[in-house]
Symmetry: D3
Subunit: 295 residues, 6 copies
């Protein structure tokens, strides 16, 4: 096992990589010395929230009503502390160091985490409707509990509904990270900015994309490979993309979109409409209409 | 690092989450105090089975014929024990506590695990044909061994052929969990109920979906983004989905389905047929036919 | 917890699995007793390289210019050692034991690892252009750093640009493993043989496939579910696939391919062309052309 | 790395080790298939109890009075469940399978765990006096908190006071295991049967031994290397040791025993006595006496 | 596995443990919300320092002179950062919140960590003499390297020489923790305050105790079970121990103390003296004298 | 969390530590690039051997006679492979690179590991007598199994009897490491060279030392703090210790040595003798004699 190599090469490579011209575009040095957000800690945050939202399914799987408050209280106290630090890290990541002092920053992070905790009962209420939607919408499911424990749709929506509340509170970076965790695990890519009504179900889900400014109503069902995307990206006079404008579809209540369909731009899919598989839609769809691929 | 927050808020949130009206739809309390199946243990079960099915590729990578029986025997003895407990947990998950006593339940779990072990030689025989199919079907592969070690198709089929045998034995929940593990890892979503013949290959695979009642023949090849799904879900008189009826395609021997194609309903794709990319099929296809997208 | 089972069954199963006829097609016994490459070690290699390529974003997130050379030098020294062993394992995996002695094999592995290290500054330069492409190409992104830390496109390209250099050096098996790691995590399947120019971006990415002999120019943008695949696989006279011939598309500079599009065969998509969503292309596309699905 | 060896040797060794005559004296096969107690789980039990007994010093180190009940309640609920199973395992270890049914055994384990929990306030009260004793008794200590966090004496007494309550309840094997954990970590060997009054301190502690039937009063201080042992072991008529009779010293209140002293047999060290270093004592010591080594 | 218990009991125990009268003497709530020092992090600090002090023996065991600066530099940069935080935690542990602001506290912690790093070359120089002493002093040792890798004496002295420098700098709590780590592992209890000259060796070591104000010369050898302790603890007028006064032995150069010997008080063991096994010494010993146990 | 420090200091410290004069006495660079033995791997080796020697007590705690050969065979196959590499590392540690080629070195390591495996039945036979000795010798023990699972004596002897066989085979360094593992865990320090007869028991054990050339007969019992050491270390003409000569006691059958006793030099403690606590012995003791401390 003689593993020698040219030390000259190594030091040359190190020198090349440590030249400022090499690293300047890919190096992160925050203004205030906070490290990057931790994927490991954020994963713990989401796992603890999952155990709080679905008691008995995740985390301590033998929780009983009489002791539920101990477990939920303890988990949320930990979540609060972890989240405050991650919120500060996310904020520091974008900080230009000019607007405000760090002390105020911490105070705001505490306020944001507190406000987030207060949304948990509503997050759980929405997820309970999503569980119902998954159970009644899939002939292969045997019980609502099975969808909680196994279905990618519930995994993706648990992440999304958490991330969306953080997004609405203006938390930086963290919502996106939480969304990408679910994307990696389920293949479902929901931008944390998307607004999604209750009783939502994505069957199978791999490859489905829901863009930042989507507005989805109640009782909507999607399948795998569906894109709710932007059609074009308006640029400003200097040729830079204008960020943040509404550019993704509005999907009204009771709509179904089958696998592989692509809906682009700020179009409206009317209440109760059905969009067939592999169909390409760039205009409005009437309420109750059925759009299918021509053959 | 002063991380105080309003304790009032925390206790209010905890109280809200511990009200029965909040948790009743998302809380799991089994009849007989068995915890939920453990994803970690089931992962160990699958990893041990993988090392048994493909000796030398996984697990102890220096196994020799003379000592093979020690390693395989030891692994299967552990698998047996772990599986008995997981089968009981899965069964308890759906148990309404009325049909039978727990003692009988354990006896049956042991019987199921024993029967499952007996299917391993056949599972390996089928996987060996899948390895062959991946090697001969992909110009980029350099040896059959490379497909065993690297290809998502073999990963997904190892999970599926294990899950399918458990499904056929009537094991609850566990087959679905094993299927979703592969779905998360490979983007290939095969319902454990699907019947798949030998010499099967899915190239790339991300986004491919194979439904519960599919019947796939020998020597079939699929690509990424293929859907073998249901067309409609018959409801009973009360409007509830009728579960369990045959609703997915029959794909006969020697069929190839290219990427993004969607085949829906209990249709038959005849022997030797080819379905082109992005094509949408909801009717039978003649043996030997070539269906392509119109342009 | 009485978990007995028929010992007869276990020993029968073990005996069946240890028969040569059962295991011969799925058993790996290398000529020279090197174990299989280790996914765990290769993951460490990639994570260390990621921290070297993007200092401060990954690994030690508090790195400063003054101490950068310590961290980068230390990481690369470890990477070198780990990589030499994995290269030898990959080589041994395909070795027929006839061509050469093992000693020479190790010498070559050291040489290959050294040559690989020397490509890192160029890998980083290319990735910096990819980061730029992701930032300017996505209206939802708030800073280049966010794309480094969160975007599947950058994850996939980091893996690919590493794997591609190893592939060009003729390293066996390892490039494919590194590519599949990214495939599993992001749903983006890029064969390590693919040649990809600078300033490349894949938005969302799940289900996108880029084949072994693809040649992609500068400033190309793809979306999710895009296939750059082979159309047919020429066979030799004996009916075996001819491996290694150019069979995937050439995509010239400034091309955009929207979600779900499929481009097959050694066709050329001309400079500046746009291929619409779900479109199926099997012929050349003129420079500047816009191909869309007929409706 | 050619690592072959004579397979004949291996199988011969295995065969020899699997002969009943070889393994019968060193093989454990319980009557009722419960596994051995788990050192890992018992370590978790003790760590959780330590965090409950000394809130803020161990476990979650940022606990506040307002949320203390969540953390303590959650930890004790977990401890209860883990302990019930370990108590059953310990009981099964000694079970001859004749006395009673397993069902009753579980009921009793639950009862024992419940009774143990009820002793925690008293265990904490005693430990608080031990902390005080360590602080006032060691000129090198700077605060009571330092003794909680760093001193082997407090570690050993935390284990002992837990183990002793379990011992008094008649729990099998588990108290001994908890005692040996502390022995391994601190070098202090206290048998769980020993009765120890409040305000107890062992300085340094390595090598100190306190036997099963010792009775130690209040405000006693020992040093390292002290033995409170048995002098002789009475045998019954058949020559077997008579187990369980009082055979270790009684040490009354306010006694100090210096390092290396050995006190053997059911002798009484009277109130306020001092036993010098390396002294050998096998008879009673008067209250207030000072025994030292002759020189 | 029916594991119910009286919920009444649990809540009563929790309530009892959450009463202020129960927890006040054993609860840690720091003034400024810094958590307790982390044993895990301090262990990492010591392990990294060990790999820096003995390159090639610990940590990366294939370090070469050409790349040594990368590894040592990287490790020390990490050690610095970890140590600053642990120093602050230790300081906060004793802080009464009155003397100064936290900001100044952090500045001082950085200064202390910087000063500590500067002592490492001297720590290594001393340890190199200890290695020599262990090798020449033990007929069973085969090479100096063996003593570095295996001998408790070197382990204990590595911890001690690190802890002693931190102690001299006035770092709170951390030195004691590092000393107790070695105590637990080796059974050798050296207070971080003890001053120990070069070329020091403790053979076997279990049970040896070296007190806070000991002053040990060059070339001293101890055996297991040796106590260099305090004889009496002067109290102030109020009966409280006076902390910090010189109360342990001075051991001059070239002294040997055999196993089990006890030397108490501020006595001087003169240059070249030998103290026999199990001997009890409470007065000065002449240079060159041989003290043995009377028989 | 602003953690800056003088970079000048760091680089100065690094430079000082990387000067050859600083590191030369404490740096390990093997001749043939084998790394140091791995404590982690050796711990796995011992744990696997423990599970083989005491089936059902350690490792897989539900082993049954019918499947015992699978578990024992699998474990020993792994132990063999791990041990061959560790033996080579240990050998390389002392290698001066002159005597022989590495290839031969590996062959010999394989031979040594094979020979070691063949001693396992005898090791187990001896340990079974030690278990018996612990059970009958301690009134506090309730069953032989309890001593296997809990007693430091059995832990230390398991390590010793393994280490001693490796020592007799001439394996370098590894036996010492295995001995020190037990020393750290139990406080019992037995040199792997010591010869110990069957039916041996050390009660409590902390601080007991047994030297390299000790010869201990059958049915011997020691207590804590006993030293069986060397009296003087003969030097050669150049003043260097002569290594390897017989210098520790011979303890004949049926001897008991009580706590704290010290026996030094190549003396003989005759059959059936009893040495009292804290006694100091440097001459022969008659068979059947009772030596006690004078008072």
């Amino acid at each position: 096992m003689i593993k020698k190599y040219s030390n000259a090469t190594l030091s040359e490579v190190v020198d090349a990589l440590c030249e400022e011209s090499s690293y300047q575009a890919v190096y992160h040095m925050p203004e205030h010395d906070w490290p990057m957000p931790s994927l490991e800690v954020l994963n713990e945050v989401v796992e603890r929230l999952r155990s709080v939202l679905f008691p008995g399914y995740f985390g301590n799987s033998e929780i009983r009503p009489e002791t539920m408050s101990y477990h939920i209280g303890g988990s949320l106290d930990v979540v609060y502390r972890l989240l405050v630090e991650q919120i500060m890290r996310g904020r520091c990541f974008f900080c230009d160091g000019e607007k405000q002092e760090c002390g105020k920053c911490e105070e705001e992070a505490r306020e944001l985490a507190t406000q987030f905790l207060a949304t948990l009962p509503e997050i759980r209420r929405l997820l309970a409707t999503d569980v119902r939607a998954a159970y009644v919408g899939d002939p292969a499911s045997k019980s609502p509990g099975e969808t909680i424990f196994c279905y990618p749709s519930i995994t993706a929506l648990t992440h999304h509904r958490i991330a969306h509340e953080l997004y609405k509170l203006g938390v930086d970076l963290i919502p996106r990270i939480i969304g990408e965790m679910a994307h990696s695990k389920t293949g479902i890519d929901i931008h944390p900015g998307a607004t999604i009504g209750e009783h939502f179900f994505i069957d199978h889900g791999t490859g489905t994309v829901i863009g930042e400014t989507c507005v989805i109503g109640r009782n909507v069902r999607l399948y795998q490979g569906v894109t709710l995307g932007a059609k074009s990206f308006p640029e400003d006079e200097s040729g830079k993309l204008i960020k943040g404008i509404a550019r993704h579809p509005i999907v009204e209540d009771d709509v179904t979109v089958y696998s592989g369909a692509t809906i682009l731009g700020r179009v409206t899919i009317g209440k109760g409409a059905t969009v067939g598989g592999n169909v390409w839609v760039t205009g409005d769809v009437e309420p109750g209409a059925r759009i299918t691929q021509q053959k």
